[in-house]
Symmetry: C2
């Protein structure tokens, strides 16, 4: 089987490819495990590759002609991770619409044109929720996103549902919590701080936290996210019923609790490197996201959740050794 990962040069794309290569097989179109022959990593920049089964392609994900060349009937699985992150989609509206909406639709349309109904895993986000929300958000809450990013992800979910209903793809939309701890540099996501306030202090650097310590966030570790995307792929076609979008289990923590977990894992001097400076451009976006989401469907389907934020910090520390 052949797999396409969009956003394949990104952190999650690289981790997903590595996990798939280790695993070696995925469920194929007829419900039987098939060995993975090729993974194509598509991104705007070339992805790092070491395994002979991996092909890196750099290009524009919204270029339908490129997608047309990359996807054929042997592409039995698509993991669509490429996106313009929340802060940038808010700052550059057209860019967000083009990548988060047009590219998603172009990808679905190429799959449809092939007619072989590949499994299609779409990374959605809990940013689809917004407006007046209860403290713990039922998964069935109506979507009234308060960011363009959340709007574009909600539209992607609707498209994945309709393209699946019509038999164009076999789709699954996974609403990811905020993923932390991401390695590397800060990015333009409004949630970037959720990794930065752990990562930078552990690197001996100061990190600015743009929201107050009482702000509650809904997070998951990279490991849980990758396991969740693969488990979503492996679900039977009818496991999700008439709504193929579901929320991945996460942890509900306040940012203050995150700092306390960092202190327990790495010491008070490390945690003291967090500087609390509210940012009026970021804080309203983060506060508008759910602090906790009920995930009965995913839990019933066997998806795992992280056990504590301290464990997430320690997992990140281990990954750096």
């Amino acid at each position: 089987m052949q797999i396409l990962i969009t956003g394949g040069a990104g952190f999650l794309g690289q981790r997903l490819a590595a996990a798939l290569l280790t695993r070696g097989s995925l469920t194929g179109p007829h419900g039987q495990p098939q060995s993975i022959e090729r993974i194509t990593l598509l991104d705007v920049v070339p992805a790092a590759t070491a395994d002979r089964r991996v092909v890196a392609v750099s290009g524009d994900i919204a270029d339908a002609g490129l997608l047309d060349r990359l996807i054929d009937t042997s592409t039995t699985s698509v993991f669509h991770l490429a996106a313009i992150v929340s802060g940038m989609a808010e700052a550059e509206f057209d860019k967000g619409m083009r990548i988060n909406l047009d590219a998603t639709r172009a990808l679905l349309d190429v799959c449809r044109a092939r007619g072989h109904r590949p499994r299609f895993v779409f990374t959605s986000s809990c940013a689809v929720f917004g407006g007046a929300l209860p403290a713990s958000v039922p998964e069935s809450t109506a979507l009234t996103p308060q960011t363009s990013y959340g709007t574009q992800k909600a539209i992607g979910e609707l498209l994945v549902n309709d393209y699946s209903r019509r038999g164009f793809v076999d789709g699954r939309s996974v609403r990811l919590p905020t993923i932390t701890v991401r390695p590397g540099k800060p990015n333009a996501a409004a949630s970037s701080f959720a990794s930065g306030i752990i990562r930078e202090p552990l690197n001996g650097e100061a990190a600015i936290c743009p929201v107050g310590p009482d702000t509650r966030v809904w997070v998951a570790s990279p490991r849980s996210a990758i396991a969740g995307l693969i488990a979503a792929h492996e679900l039977a076609s009818d496991a999700l019923g008439s709504n193929r979008a579901f929320c991945l289990p996460g942890l509900s923590v306040t940012v203050g609790e995150m700092a306390a977990a960092l202190e327990r894992a790495a010491g008070a001097d490390v945690a003291a490197r967090i500087r609390w400076e509210r940012d009026p451009r970021i804080e309203p976006i983060v506060i508008g996201w759910p602090g906790e989401v009920e995930t009965p469907r995913a839990l019933a389907l066997g998806f795992l959740r992280d056990t504590s934020f301290e464990e997430i910090v320690r997992e990140y520390q281990d990954s750096r050794r």
Copy 2:
């Protein structure tokens, strides 16, 4: 003030234009009533016009260049009624996506480019609801439409919300019940029968009812729909909060009750012209729509509902005299 009505040659578009001309004014961009100087009726076929204030333009609603020529900063209000109906959007996927999604977005983008934040009334539909629904559907139910038409309308609502939040337009999305009794000919809407089983018998013709008599439908009269679209336009910008989509009040009736109301209004011989022949292409679509929707927001905002289906039949009879 100048008004654009898309779908202006259609039944609702024509009725809306007539109602606006009779009314003579609408609330303008600064919250003050302004007299209506011009109404442009855009449709694929030329709209009938008699009033010197009305201009009919025929063309492709998805043609951004045409929209660009039709909308300027004096276009203070847009009523977006043009759509590919449910049955056709199901049969011709690309056509539905082009008109129901791409044209809606093109229209919003031209408004955005002008920068004057016109009022934008989008006709959505209760077909945005679908999947497992309770007998009476709370307005806040998550949208899992089970038709491409409903999907495209749900996406339109998300776009109207985001374009409004960003200040590109001042939008309001009105989820219409099934409108009955429409004059004229049957169309490709799965709901076409809801008018046909009243209209054709009154014209001395047989009508096929493609769903069983126990099927519950959510309906409103043309008069209520037009009054609702105008009232939606007149709402203050902040009246709808963070979700600018709301459901117009309707009546919940079974198709058998509709036939009984026809019998009371016009006699048993007329009602006997309904032939009950279930259609496996239409019935599942209709059954998938809500039979009743709770509309607390619209009722609190003063929107009216029809009092009985018999009154709707008599209103249609009066309109033919």
